[in-house]
């Protein structure tokens, strides 16, 4: 019995340690980034272009922030409609049919495509075949392919999470699915869908591999033209570090990237809470 109690205690300690490790890892990462990067977070850093010799050793990351925002916007705009439509089909129309199984399986497989392969495909298709060149559009579309399954999965789950009873009630009253969808189910699922969208945005903002070969360059004065390349935060970070341009700026850029992500996460969480209060 004594042995048993000791064993119990041993395992308890292991489980607690593992859980706390998670906290330590996250706060370790965030804390370290903040510690190393907070000195760079000046107004100049946010609002000016990279300068110095080599370029980027001084100055800021404004074009990179701009470029990342444009990329994300294009990716989300392209992916959101097909994503939602697919999710609606899966959750509302497909039932347990073969088609549903096939699409679900495909979506899951797409979610697993390595991001570099997305880049490879985007490069071959958008940059080379369609002739967009290394450009905002090519990068945005590659990112769209990447976040499409994320959007489908979160939206599908959000739709399916809406109380099944609502469907039964609606249907037994003889109303159509579309009426039910637009009056009851979509409004209920909206906060979760939006939350998922935000997470997908964060995912797109941080992706490097797909834009490395399709959109990103090390220097550009402005961003916004669809057919011109852009700077982007994650790629800029990669260049700053791997070309040994400036470790300090690299920490600053990483911190900005992570802060952006944290913000998106917090908003997504807020949406979720909104929902749990509403329901």
């Amino acid at each position: 019995m004594k042995l048993r109690l000791m064993l119990d205690f041993f395992w308890l300690a292991i489980f607690w340690a593992a859980g706390l490790l998670l906290l330590v890892v996250l706060f370790g990462i965030l804390g370290y980034l903040f510690y190393q990067g907070h000195t760079s977070l000046t107004q100049d850093f946010f609002f000016s272009s990279p300068r110095g010799l080599p370029l980027g050793a001084e100055g800021g990351i404004f074009p990179a922030i701009q470029g990342t925002l444009f990329l994300v916007v294009i990716a989300v705009f392209t992916a959101v409609l097909p994503g939602l439509a697919t999710a609606i089909y899966l959750a509302e129309y497909a039932g347990k049919s073969k088609v549903n199984t096939v699409i679900n399986l495909t979506i899951q497989c797409m979610a697993g495509i390595p991001s570099i392969v997305t880049g490879l495909f985007g490069y071959a298709l958008f940059v080379v075949k369609m002739g967009f060149g290394i450009s905002l559009l090519a990068g945005g579309l590659s990112l769209a392919i990447m976040i499409f399954p994320v959007i489908v999965v979160t939206a599908r789950d959000a739709l399916q999470a809406v109380n099944r009873d609502y469907r039964w009630v609606g249907i037994s009253l003889g109303v159509s699915r579309r009426y039910l969808l637009s009056r009851v189910i979509l409004p209920q699922a909206a906060p979760s869908i939006l939350g998922g969208l935000l997470l997908a945005m964060g995912y797109a903002a941080g992706a490097t591999a797909p834009i490395m070969v399709t959109a990103a360059v090390i220097a550009t004065p402005s961003a916004g033209n669809l057919f011109e390349p852009v700077m982007a935060l994650p790629y800029h970070l990669y260049i700053l570090f791997s070309q040994q341009i400036s470790l300090e700026k690299a920490y600053g850029t990483a911190l900005v990237l992570v802060l952006l992500l944290l913000t998106l996460n917090v908003i997504a969480l807020w949406f979720k809470n909104l929902k749990s209060k509403g329901a």
């Binding site: 037994s172 009253l173 003889g174």
Partner: protein, 248 residues
Amino acid sequence: MSLKTENLQVWFGNQSILNCINLEFPNKNISAIMGPSGCGKTTLLKTLNRTLELEPGYRYTGRVMLSGKNIYAEKNVATVRRRIGLIFQTPVALPLSIKENVLFGVRYYGERNKAKLEEINEQCLKQAGLWKEVKDRLAQPARELSGGQIQRLSIARVLAVNPEILLLDEPCSNLDPSSTKMIEDLLHALANQLTIILVTHNLFQAKRVAHNTIFMMDGQIIESGETKRLFNHPEKQQTYDFISGLTW
């Protein structure tokens, strides 16, 4: 409206759930369906208004005749479902206001006239015995109502689309005695206008409200007939066992 089933059989996958059901539900009467858990009561109700079709993997043979027409031959499913209202066991408030809950189906069927809508709302809530309790807060979300109130709201919602037959699946199983009483009174009142079919697991409720009682077991009709007769002089041993509490 008279409702009749002819040789109805239902399967889920390869499992037979309902077996050769031949029933006739008399017009403007209350019929109670009873039987042990899992015997297929809910499935039978769903078959009667074609919500069964939403279950994946169902199969059926036989016919369900509404005023002499097979509802399964009907093209427009929605109309069938509207004509034969079904109220589920767990009361569900749609995430809308009380009033919009009642008008949910009505709006779909194209009623736009405001005054008319108001009228339908008031009349159905009154019929369901809920008007007095909620008339001052029609715009509030319906989920703030109590279980018994939501149950009555569901009934009002179905009444609003003017059904000819009302199917109720254990409408009182989650309710306290006073709410139960209210629903039973409501059923009595409605029996003047509608044919009502009621699934219940409460023997005494069946005794109190039903004109006819049907006893099922394992997907088959064991016995059916006038309530008094069935309870006092059951013809089958299984019926006797059930009403004396041996099977549950």
